[in-house]
Every structure is written in structure tokens, then in C-alpha cells.
């Protein structure tokens, strides 16, 4: 077993923050993704253009650089607005907020494509049938679209979640004391970097395995009642 010299609880604290930041990001990211997909499928040219630009930008810029832009650039922006409003003290964006926003922004861009594909996969006849039965727009969405979009989107979203989980480690660069940051601290204090980075890797791998099991179960559940070939 790995000797952690009493730094185990510190790593677990960090792991817990990693989980929280990942869940917060995915919650916000799903909203970004839904908005993006709606914009991409809309008849409005401006909305379509904006959504296309959004996905192209995220696809081409490293997550680390986006995080630095949000954290340093965002802090400067907030500071300037604050001073402009007559504030005097120093303000900055919290690493947690900057990290969550960045990861959600990235997740949302890729989720836009996933949702777009899933929405297009629902047969048009079913939507027409729902309207013909006298369902309202909202009822049709809830009863016909949502369950199927969910089923089609789940595998793609699952992959994005696994990517997001690993990308949380980047937030340690702007000093959020999540798993990676805490293992760096422990590595520095004990001068045993190999031990602590391997420990961190094992915890990340554990998260990945748990996520894969949960995803497999949810995918099976979302497919219930669908005839398998």
C-alpha cells in the first residue's frame, strides 16, 4: 500500500472538492448545451452564427488557456466594473467560480453538438402525432421529445462527463485546492512527488470507473422498453 504520511485526509478533502466542482460545472454546462443546440437549430441566422462561433472557439482553444482568460481576464474585468461603480476595495473572481464557468463553457460547446444530434434523431412523425393528439407544446416536449433526446444524448454526454472530470485538475493551476492542488502540496511537503501524484491518479481512475458503471446503468435504464436488435 502507498504510505501517505498522514496526508490521506488532505487528498480526500481535495477529491471531495473535485467532485463538487465537476457537478457544478456539468449542471451549468447542460444549460449552455441546451441553449446552444436550440440556437443552432433555430431559424434565426444570428442565433445560428453565434452558436457556430461558440463551438468553433471552444474546439480550437486549450481549456487551460480559456481558464486563464476567465480567471485573470475576468478578475480584471470585474475589478474595472467595480471601480467604475465607485467601489474601492480589491475584488477578484474566486477560482471555484472561474473554474466552474470555464468547464461549463467547454462542456456546453461539445454538448451543443450532442443535443443537436439527439434532437434531430427524434422522428418528425412522432412530434406531428403528438400535436395531432392535441398535446400542447410543453406537453409534447416533456412526453415525446425529452425521454428520447435523453436516450440519444446519454452516451455522448457520458463521454463529455469523463472529459470534464479529468479537466477539473486544470483548476489547480489557478490555486483551487482540489485533488491535484492538494497532492502538489503534499508532494512538496514530503518531497515524495511520485507517491502523491500516483495516489491522485488512482483517485481519478476510481472516479472514472464509478462514472462508467453509473453511465452504463443509466444508459440501460434510458433504453428500457426499446426493442434491441
Amino acid at each position: 500500500m502507498i504510505e501517505l504520511h498522514g496526508y490521506g485526509p488532505l487528498l480526500l478533502d481535495g477529491a471531495w472538492l473535485t467532485v463538487r466542482v465537476a457537478f457544478a460545472s456539468v449542471a451549468v454546462g447542460l444549460v449552455f448545451g441546451l441553449i446552444g443546440a436550440t440556437a443552432k437549430l433555430s431559424n434565426n441566422r444570428v442565433a445560428r452564427g453565434a452558436a457556430t462561433a461558440y463551438t468553433a472557439i471552444v474546439r480550437g482553444i486549450p481549456e487551460l488557456l480559456l481558464l486563464l482568460i476567465v480567471f485573470y481576464g475576468g478578475s480584471l474585468l470585474v475589478q474595472q466594473i467595480w471601480l467604475g461603480l465607485g467601489g474601492e476595495s480589491y475584488v477578484e473572481i474566486k477560482p471555484f467560480v472561474a473554474g466552474t464557468f470555464t468547464l461549463a463553457f467547454v462542456f456546453g460547446a461539445y454538448a451543443t453538438e450532442v443535443f443537436r444530434g439527439a434532437i434531430l434523431s427524434v422522428p418528425k412523425g412522432q412530434v406531428e402525432a403528438a400535436y395531432a393528439m392535441g398535446m400542447g407544446r410543453f406537453q409534447m416536449f416533456r412526453r415525446v421529445m425529452l425521454p428520447q433526446v435523453w436516450r440519444f444524448a446519454l452516451p455522448g454526454l457520458g463521454n463529455l462527463w469523463l472529459v470534464l472530470l479529468k479537466d477539473t485538475s486544470l483548476i489547480s493551476v489557478v490555486n483551487l485546492n482540489e485533488l491535484m492542488y492538494n497532492s502538489r502540496s503534499a508532494a512538496g511537503a514530503t518531497r515524495e512527488p511520485f507517491t502523491f501524484f500516483v495516489a491522485a491518479a488512482i483517485i481519478y481512475l476510481g472516479f472514472t470507473i464509478i462514472s462508467m458503471i453509473v453511465l452504463q446503468y443509466s444508459e440501460r435504464r434510458a433504453r428500457r422498453g426499446v426493442r434491441q436488435s
Binding site: 481549456e63 487551460l64 488557456l65 486563464l68 481576464g73 479529468k166 518531497r191 512527488p193 472514472t208
Partner: protein, 232 residues
């Protein structure tokens, strides 16, 4: 916005971009050399071949690249055996650590892409090669691998772009790649917008270039799908 600073920083950022290109190109080239045998081992029926490869791929795809690069750059030096081995001059350099990590990482992803592609090669083509009496290696070389490459190209294109984005992590181990240079200048001038946005534009330009090159490669590699040139 300080446009003068943005323009003045271009030469330095371009130097960083060159470093990024070198890192990505070398890692991709070495990565694909490693990925081909890995993918072939992965589809093998021999458990002594596919199980270790499966484990390798799983570990590299299941942990963050940042952790991997830290284990190699900061971690390996912890062991006396590594420091006294002939590999130490190699692992002492941040540059080679980055190349080493990126190569292993991209080879794991690429092997998985190639595995999917190899399994998607139509069975009839393999049978035809066998019926012609091709030995296994010749069949791999002439039928399976070229066919799998064409099938894998779109997914591999994504992997190239992900590697380009991942290479920004080289800046966390003191390397002066595009992100690294931008960070150094920001620390000196405290002009985060200007520098990071310039760097972002350069990354976007690189991505665009890669996407274009891939489109061309896909076109070149699928002459059978092109419409005939003199059709009416």
C-alpha cells in the same frame, strides 16, 4: 486594450507557437508508431497480448494529462534507481518529459481509435485477401492497416486537435510553449486580455490549419467516393 503590446508580443508568441508545433508533431509521430502495434495487440485473441494493452489504454484515458505529466516530470526523480539510470539525462529535461507523456497519452487514444477502425474493416475484404493466399503480415500491410487508416481519419483528426489543446499543459512544467510564453509575458506586464487573446487567436489559426489539412487528406484518401470528373 493595449494594441501596441499585442503587436509587440507577436514575435515572442510565434516562438512559443513553434515550440507547441514541435511538441505536438513529435508526440503525434511517435504516438502513431506506438499506437499501430498497440491496436493490433488490442484486437488479438491472446489474453497475454490484449489484457496489458487494455490496461495501458484504460489508465491513460482514465487519468488527467496533468497528473501524467507531473508523475513523469516531478515524480520519476523521486526514485534513486531512475536518477542513477542512463535515462536520467532524458527525464531531467522538461522538453523530453513532455514529449514522453504526450506520446504515451496520444498513443493510448489513437490505439483505441485504430481498434474501432480495424474492427470496422469489412469482413469480405479480409476474406478476399485470405482467398488470394496473402500471408497474415502482407494482408495487414496491404488491406487492413490502409483501410483502417481511412476509416479512422475523422476520429484521428479530432485526436490531433485534442493533442494540440493538451499541449498547453507543457507550460505547467516550465516549458515555453504558446501558453507558456503568454503566461510569462502576462506575469511581467499584467495584461491578461491582450496576451491570452493573442495566444488564443494563434491556437485557433493552428486548429483551422489542421482542419483544412484533414479535409484535404480525406479527399485524397477517398478517390473512389469522388464523383467522376467528366460526368454530365
Amino acid at each position: 486594450m493595449d494594441f501596441q503590446l499585442m503587436i509587440d508580443s507577436i514575435p515572442q508568441l510565434l516562438e512559443g507557437a513553434w515550440m507547441t508545433v514541435k511538441l505536438v508533431a513529435l508526440a503525434l509521430a511517435l504516438g502513431i508508431c506506438l499506437a499501430i502495434p498497440l491496436a493490433l495487440a488490442r484486437v488479438s485473441k491472446n489474453p497475454f497480448l490484449w489484457m496489458p494493452v487494455y490496461g495501458f489504454i484504460f489508465v491513460f484515458r482514465g487519468t488527467p494529462l496533468l497528473v501524467q505529466i507531473f508523475i513523469v516530470y516531478y515524480g520519476l526523480g523521486q526514485s534513486e534507481a531512475v536518477r542513477e539510470s542512463i535515462f536520467w539525462p532524458f527525464f531531467k529535461e522538461a522538453y523530453w518529459c513532455a514529449i514522453f507523456t504526450f506520446t504515451l497519452n496520444t498513443s493510448a487514444y489513437t490505439a483505441e481509435i485504430l481498434r474501432g477502425a480495424i474492427q470496422a474493416v469489412p469482413h469480405g475484404e479480409v476474406e478476399a485477401a485470405r482467398a488470394l493466399g496473402m500471408p497474415r503480415l502482407l494482408m495487414l500491410r496491404r488491406v487492413v492497416v490502409p483501410r483502417a487508416f481511412r476509416l479512422a481519419l475523422p476520429a484521428y483528426g479530432n485526436e490531433i486537435i485534442l493533442m494540440l489543446k493538451g499541449s498547453a499543459l507543457a507550460s505547467t512544467i516550465t516549458l515555453l510553449d504558446l501558453t507558456g510564453v503568454a503566461r510569462v509575458i502576462v506575469a511581467r506586464t499584467f495584461a491578461p486580455y491582450e496576451l491570452f487573446i493573442m495566444a488564443a487567436i494563434m491556437y485557433l489559426a493552428l486548429t483551422l490549419l489542421i482542419v483544412r489539412a484533414l479535409k484535404y487528406a480525406e479527399w485524397r484518401l477517398s478517390p473512389h467516393l469522388r464523383p467522376p470528373r467528366h460526368s454530365k
